[in-house]
Symmetry: none
Subunit: 260 residues, 2 copies
C-alpha cells in the first residue's frame, strides 16, 4: 500500500470512528508505529487531522476540503491577462454572473478587491475566493454537487438563474471552433447557456489554446455572445473569422500594464 492510499485510509477511518490510537492504526494498516506517526505528522501539518497523545482525531478546523480533479492548471499568465481585461467591464453596483472554469476563477481573483458587487455563481471555488469580501454579496446558485468538481448543476441551478437579471455574465469554454463554444460536460453547458440568458451582456473568456481543443457538448453560438476575451497568442487564421463572428473581440496583452 502506497503512502497516499494510507493517508486516505487514515482519514477515512478517522471520519468513521472519530479517533484512533497510533497502535490500532498501525495494526489496521499493517505498518510500524513509526510510519503511522510520520503519517499523522504530515496529515496534521496539512491540517487534516489533529494529534493527540497516543493517537489522532479528525481535525475540525475552520476550513473546508473539497477534493476535486484539477483538470487544467496551464496557461495561467494568459488567463490572468484575460481577467485583467474583463474586470475593466465591471463597475460598482453591477450584478455579475460568473461561470465555473479556471479562466473565470482568475476573473474572480481579479475581482476580489472590488466593492459593491453582487456575484452569482455556480462554482464553489468562485464563492471561496469572494466570500470573505465584506463589500460583495456572493450568491451561490443551488444545484447538485457534481462529483469530483466543485460546482453545481442541474434543474435547480437553471431554475434559480431565471429569477435573476444581471448586467454581465462571464462564462468560459473548454473548446472553441467556428461553430461556437463547447464544454466537456453537458450539465455545465446547460447551466452556461441559461446564465447567458439572464444577463444583458455576455462575455466569453478562454485562452487561445482552446481553439485547438475539442469538447463534446455544444454550449454557445457566436451570435449569442457580445464580447469574446482571449489572449494575444491567438493566431491570425482564427482572428480573421472570429472578428466577423463576434461584434467585439479582445486579445488580451500578456504584459501586465502595456497601455491605458
Amino acid at each position: 500500500m502506497k503512502i497516499n492510499q494510507r493517508h486516505e485510509k487514515i482519514i477515512e477511518l478517522l471520519s468513521r470512528e472519530g479517533q484512533f490510537s497510533v497502535e490500532t492504526l498501525a495494526q489496521r494498516l499493517d505498518v510500524s508505529l513509526m510510519t503511522i506517526r510520520r503519517d499523522l505528522k504530515t496529515l496534521s501539518q496539512t491540517g487534516q487531522v489533529s494529534r493527540t497523545h497516543g493517537g489522532a482525531v479528525l481535525s475540525r478546523t475552520g476550513s473546508i476540503n473539497f477534493l476535486f480533479q484539477q483538470r487544467e492548471n496551464q496557461n495561467l499568465p494568459k488567463k490572468q491577462a484575460i481577467a485583467r481585461e474583463v474586470i475593466r467591464m465591471i463597475h460598482p453596483g453591477n450584478g455579475i454572473i460568473l461561470d465555473n472554469g479556471s479562466t473565470t476563477l482568475e476573473v474572480a481573483r481579479a475581482m476580489s478587491s472590488m466593492s459593491d458587487l453582487t456575484v452569482l455563481s455556480s462554482s464553489l471555488l468562485v464563492a471561496s475566493v469572494l466570500h470573505t469580501n465584506e463589500r460583495m454579496e456572493v450568491v451561490l446558485l443551488g444545484g447538485v454537487v457534481r462529483k469530483n468538481f466543485p460546482d453545481l448543476t442541474g434543474p435547480l441551478t437553471e431554475e434559480n438563474l431565471k429569477g435573476f437579471r444581471v448586467h454581465l455574465a462571464v462564462v468560459g469554454a473548454d473548446a472553441a471552433s467556428s461553430e461556437g463554444t463547447f464544454t466537456h460536460d453537458v450539465r455545465t453547458a446547460r447551466v452556461t447557456k441559461v446564465m447567458t440568458q439572464a444577463a444583458d451582456r455576455v462575455v466569453v473568456v478562454f485562452d487561445s489554446s482552446k481553439f485547438t481543443k475539442t469538447a463534446l457538448a455544444h454550449c454557445l453560438d457566436w451570435k449569442d455572445i457580445h464580447v469574446v476575451v482571449t489572449d494575444e497568442a491567438c493566431p491570425e487564421s482564427i482572428r480573421s473569422w472570429l472578428n466577423k463572428a463576434v461584434s467585439k473581440v479582445i486579445y488580451a496583452p500578456l504584459t501586465p500594464s502595456s497601455s491605458q
Copy 2:
C-alpha cells in the same frame, strides 16, 4: 502504441482504479519503468495526475478554503452520540434535509458511508463531507453566502426549499427552552423553519448544554417537531416537561454500542 495513446491509457486506468504503481503500469503497457516515469512526469506537468512514490494518482489537489469562525468545538462525544441515533432513522432511498450546525455536521459525517440518499443542505461543510460519496446525491440549496460562516441563507434558499418534499429534516438549534428552539442568526432561523415545512418528519438535534444557553431568534415551536434527539446528560428537570412537549424524545447514550 504511440506515446499519446499510452498517456490516454494511463489516464483511463487511473480514473478507473484511482491509483497505480509505476511497476504495474509498466507491465500493463509493456514498456520499461523509465518510460512510465517519463510519462507520469509529463502528465503531472500538465496537471493531469499526481505523482506518488512508486506510482501515480489522479490529480485531486484542489482544496477550497472557506475560512469561518469556529464557534463550537465542544461536546463532540455528545454530538456523535446524537448522530448515531439519527442515522438509525435514515434508510436507503430517502431524501434528507440537513441544516447547518455542528451537530448536524456530525450527522453528515455519520451518514457519509451510507448509500442511495439524496441530501439537501444549505451548509457548505455538509456538502464537503458528503460530496465524495458516489452513491449519494448532494444538492446544495442556493443562497447568499453568509460572511464568516460556510452556509447559505436568504430568499433564494427559502424559495428553493419549496420545490422539495423529503422524508426527514434534521435541523439544529443554538438554544432550547420551554418556548421552543432558538438560533443566533435570524436568517438561518428562517431557513430552518422553511426546512421543517418541506419534510414529512422533523428531527431536531442538539446536545443537552443547549438548554442552558440563550439565542435571540426564535426558530421552532415544540409542536412543529416530531422527534428531539439530545444526549443522556439531559437533567431530569428538563426531561419532565420536554417529554410532554414533544411526542418522541431520544436521549442518546454516550457509550458507542451499548444495546439496540
